[in-house]
Subunit: 299 residues, 2 copies
């Protein structure tokens, strides 16, 4: 799959996800409706929508239809957005800007931002268990996928990773700790996204294993490239506010292992990811293109 075709396919999923989220979360005139405005503000302010795309393509890689699981994919984006809102809070990374716009607590206030994150996590699980999904998959599969994502969101995933990240700030930490942070904070949900898509579409244990290895490798590479972009100080295509992690002396892979080693490691991980997909054949082509895309961001 050429990069152009990949970007077109990604743009299609992004549009479908954003349309669905818009429909699922209308403004709410009730006394608590302010939190809905804040959730919409962060959820509908752009983003690559990589996690929904991973779920979609994870399903297709094992012969399913990505479209069937759009509600589940939207839940993954809610989960990701909640983690960004909370990570940006004054008590956490204290960021004023996200994707070039004021962060949620800057645009609203801290209490509203905390609640917006909480509400997005609840909405995620509301979507994962949506009755409509039972028209497309078995209840047991849906529960299995949901359970996997819950684990990736919690202490053995995002929450544990963010805790370790905060504790490592400004300190000299071993590479092992950086790898722990990446594996938990980012790679866990990326892995759960692609594997959940596969599970929903009825992946065999072997297919699940392939997607799992792919997700872990791509997730780690993604985070290493993020660290490289912070060091080189510029990300041309994605509009991220760069250099922020650098200023905060975050424990990034290139900061600890050096730029050259980080580049080698990212390259190696993408090769691993591509290798893991071999048994899935032609149908995994979008996932391969996504892995190459992750690596290309550093150039």
């Amino acid at each position: 799959m050429k990069e152009e075709a990949f970007l077109e396919a990604l743009a299609y999923i992004k549009a479908r996800v954003e349309q669905e989220l818009e429909n699922l979360l209308p403004e709410d005139p009730s006394p608590g409706g302010r939190v809905v405005s804040a959730m919409r503000y962060s959820l509908l302010s752009g983003g690559k929508r990589l996690r929904p795309a991973l779920c979609w393509w994870g399903a297709e890689a094992v012969g399913g239809r990505g479209e069937d699981f759009l509600l589940f994919a939207c839940g993954l984006e809610c989960l990701h957005t909640y983690s960004l809102i909370h990570d940006d809070l004054p008590a956490m990374d204290d960021d004023d800007l996200r994707r070039g716009q004021p962060t949620c607590h800057r645009a609203f206030d801290e209490a509203t931002a905390i609640l917006a994150g909480d509400g997005l996590q609840a909405l995620a699980f509301e979507l994962f268990s949506h009755p409509e999904l039972l028209k497309k998959t078995a209840a047991e599969r849906l529960l299995q996928a949901l359970h996997l994502v819950a684990q990736a969101a919690g202490i053995h995933g995002m929450v544990g990773g963010q805790m370790a990240d905060l504790l490592a700030e400004g300190k000299s930490v071993p590479l092992k700790t950086v790898e722990y942070i990446h594996a938990h904070k980012t790679a866990a949900l990326i892995t759960a996204s692609v594997v959940s898509g596969g599970l929903l579409a009825g992946a065999s244990p072997q297919e699940k294993e392939s997607l799992w290895k792919y997700g872990e490798a791509v997730g780690l590479a993604f985070q290493i490239v993020d660290g490289l972009l912070d060091l080189t100080g510029e990300e041309k295509t994605l509009g991220k506010t760069v250099g922020a992690d650098l200023k905060k002396k975050k424990a990034t892979y290139p900061a600890v292992a050096g730029v050259e080693e980080a580049r080698r490691q990212a390259q190696k991980l993408i090769e691993q990811a591509l290798c893991a997909l071999k048994p899935l054949g032609e149908r995994a082509e979008p996932l391969r293109a996504l892995a190459r895309f992750v690596l290309s961001r550093q150039n």
Copy 2:
């Protein structure tokens, strides 16, 4: 059921829940393990465990075994504890004490407390979707119960109610808004707790309806009694830090409608709750005792 027998039954469930939570969430030596300590600190520091008991007795009221759904009941307690941790944060109610102990952000720090709440919400959904539960109930029922609880946790439940509560602070609001706050912030999860127990045990639509009406009435009565206790400034049995809502000029029922009207309304709601249980007969006896217990707290 006499009050003594009820308190004994409640103490039994409390002990079972606390033992299970202790087992489910051991201290974690990994780099992100600090958040686990904070979760344990808040989760295992007492509490009446009313929501797990409601789930347990909701199952028994329709002929199931409450014990079968202990993992689900523990998830409800995780969800409740997460909401307490976040409500106490400086940006929210800014409370220093909870059950006579320093609040989570006081005992740890703000970032850790935010993450502890986030981690407890994720853990809740991990428990709701636990594979062990499939030995006791059908996957469709489990998904239905989980979906209901997710809705009660989100913008149409706890999160929406807390947002409205914060916005009403220090303002003169109509009784309708107070009822909105109570119905969303407290009654939604109380209702979901008892109904989810029923659903897991295979409640018929009529039985579900009975439990639903009971939960809504008990949930609202619970919150009105809380407001009364704040006004009278003392809660003898439960060790709550009282008067806090009063100091913050929270919109409580007695503050808006007057003490006498609040007492009448709580009494009326408990009668409604008991009436709703009529079709369930003898098996709903613990739920009846719980309703009377809620009302007795004001004396």
